[in-house]
């Protein structure tokens, strides 16, 4: 199946993919793309409407919004990738252990998962942030830990589905060690759901960070995170200088949109079994 044909079959997913590529490129090439320093205060240029010298306008500190949005892509990717990495790693460990070994380990881990799932997500995030204090790294940690439970469930059901396959039994019968089986057979087969989880998780992380920013627990200034730009001065100056919030808002929406579309398409394509139904009830 050529990539082009796949993209034609799923135009929304293709659009999402393009958006994400654009996001990644922006994040990587930020120092090259951004015309100004995103942090330097320049009081003479405050609150300027979009113009030739400042295509997206300036904020109340005189900082160029285009540059901040570009660097914000970097922060968003850092946040998203960091959070998802932690998340997926933890979820995979728990999910695989739980699904593969079953039995008592499964029951105990499942209790833990149920426990964590019972707490509303934002509450968990707030509690973790209150414990750790402010800071970019802490936000990443919080986002990573916060989403683990749900994804562990998903991975577990994927592992369960595969475990019953015949070739696994054969592998065991021929004396393959557990870890070999996991690495060689299980992992590749759960790569699909993991990819979906990762893609969707990236979108969730970005949104969650903006929610945290609004409540005062997000990435501390002067770091240009989209969430902080949207929820802080962006709101104060909404009537006077709407561009301060509109552009980061569009950026967030496009990014989340892209991740969701891509994730959806991936899900449809790779594993139709994941499409519907409840996930991993005991």
């Amino acid at each position: 199946m050529s990539l082009f044909r796949v993209m034609r079959g799923k135009p929304l997913g293709a659009l999402g993919g393009l958006l994400i590529l654009g996001l990644l490129a922006t994040a990587l090439l930020a120092p090259v793309l951004a015309p100004y320093d995103p942090i330097k205060v320049r009081s003479s240029d405050r609150l300027q409407a979009p113009s030739l010298s400042h295509p997206l306008g300036t904020d109340d500190f005189g900082r160029d919004i285009l540059s901040r949005v570009i660097y914000g892509a970097r922060i968003s990717m850092l946040l998203g990738l960091g959070a998802v990495a932690i998340n997926t790693l933890l979820a995979a460990i728990i999910g695989i252990l739980s699904g593969y070994y079953g039995g008592r380990i499964d029951i105990v881990l499942q209790r833990c998962i149920d426990t964590l799932m019972a707490f509303p997500g934002l509450v968990v995030l707030l509690t973790i942030m209150a414990m750790l204090g402010q800071g970019l790294v802490n936000v990443i940690l919080a986002l990573g830990i916060g989403g683990t439970a749900a994804n562990a469930r998903i991975i577990r059901s994927a592992v369960l589905a595969i475990r019953e396959n015949q070739y696994i039994e054969v592998a065991r019968a021929t004396g393959c060690q557990d870890w070999q089986i996991i690495v060689r057979h299980i992992l590749p087969n759960i790569a699909a759901p993991i990819m979906v989880v990762v893609t969707l998780g990236l979108g969730v992380a970005i949104l969650a960070e903006s929610a945290l920013s609004f409540l005062g627990f997000g990435v501390p200034p002067p770091t240009p995170s989209w969430g902080a730009m949207l929820s802080g001065s962006g709101r104060t100056y909404m009537i006077q200088a709407p561009w301060m919030a509109v552009f980061p808002g569009i950026a967030i929406s496009l990014a989340v949109f892209g991740f969701n579309m891509l994730g959806d398409a991936l899900r449809d394509l790779l594993d139709p079994k994941l499409r519907g139904g409840p996930q991993g009830r005991a």
């Binding site: 707030l126 909404m238 969701n260």
Partner: protein, 314 residues
């Protein structure tokens, strides 16, 4: 069936125990020791040691925990460190508010999601399908507080209208009550509808391919009847499950809407408690929510079991 239910109930106990233990320990790790915080605030304890004693914080951890669990089993969730009101009372006062908001949000979510999901499925891969799916994701991509801000400011400037910033219970004045809650409910519902809509869509798609539906079509039944009779019932099953899962997210996710629209619900209550390190309140709310969610999940599983006999012995 009853064996299944019983087994689930039994598994409930260790889960709840873990929940309380988790909550109990974590908040004590929060920096900004509450004793120091309170020392500067209240006037009735003369020194730190006395305050600790009054708050029960001078006992070793396990004893505090055991005392707490004992009280919980008697229905006593403790007393707020700051307001001195019983935690359970405060929760029960705010619970109906949060529930109303959550229920309204789910209603709007369903209202938006189900029709669009069905349409999308029936007209699969047409521009309408893409439009709805894009719209659904769009609703999910814009942060809720942003939507709320835009709506409030726009409404106040263009129409001189602002949702009432004061909560009136539904029984006392349904109009004022809804006027305050309808906006946040729609915004929350929008985010919710995205996933529900896609789920509805895929379920409907699956069912549409089933033989008995094709038979009905072949027999010449009008499309709407086919959908109404056969598709809906089966498609709703997973939808119900997802809605149930979303409830917990909703109850926690209302923090932001409650802050903006001045709704005295549990979300804001919890946020304040975390900020002021009000241990009994944090514990009480978490326990309450966790228990509620677990019970709700059990209920949903039971309903699911009834609806789909294949799942019964799970």
């Amino acid at each position: 069936m009853s064996r299944y239910v019983l087994r689930r109930l039994v598994l409930l106990v260790p889960t709840l125990a873990l929940v309380t233990l988790l909550v109990f320990s974590i908040i004590r790790l929060l920096p900004g020791d509450i004793v120091t915080l309170m020392m500067s605030e209240q006037g009735y304890a003369s020194d730190k040691a006395k305050l600790e004693q009054m708050l029960g914080l001078d006992q070793p951890f396990y004893r505090q925990y055991v005392t707490y669990v004992g009280k919980v089993l008697q229905g006593d969730l403790g007393v707020s460190f700051w307001t001195k009101e019983p935690v359970l009372d405060e929760i029960l006062r705010r619970l109906p508010v949060s529930l109303e908001l959550a229920v309204l949000a789910m209603l709007f979510g369903l209202l938006i999601a189900v029709p669009t999901g069905i349409f999308s499925a029936v007209r699969q891969d047409t521009w309408l399908d893409y439009l709805f799916r894009t719209g659904a994701i769009g609703g999910l991509s814009v942060p809720g507080f942003w939507m709320a801000t835009v709506v409030i400011v726009a409404a106040s400037i263009w129409w001189q209208w602002v949702p009432p910033m004061r909560y009136t219970p539904f029984a006392r004045d349904p109009v004022k009550n809804l006027a305050q809650l309808v906006l946040p409910a729609i915004i929350l519902g929008l985010a919710l509808s995205a996933s529900v809509m896609r789920m509805t869509r895929s379920m409907v798609l699956e069912v549409l391919r089933e033989d008995y539906v094709r038979t009905a079509w072949a027999k010449g039944l009008p499309e709407s009847l086919v959908i109404a009779r056969h598709v809906l019932k089966n498609a709703m099953i997973p939808v119900v499950t997802v809605m149930g899962l979303q409830l917990s997210a909703l109850l926690g996710g209302t923090v932001i809407m409650e802050s903006i629209f001045v709704i005295p619900g549990m979300g804001k209550f919890l946020l304040d408690a975390i900020t002021w390190r009000d241990y009994p309140v944090i514990q009480g709310i978490n326990l309450f929510l966790a228990t509620g969610v677990i019970a709700l999940n059990l209920l949903i599983d039971v309903i699911y079991g009834f609806l789909d006999p294949r799942i019964r012995f799970g």
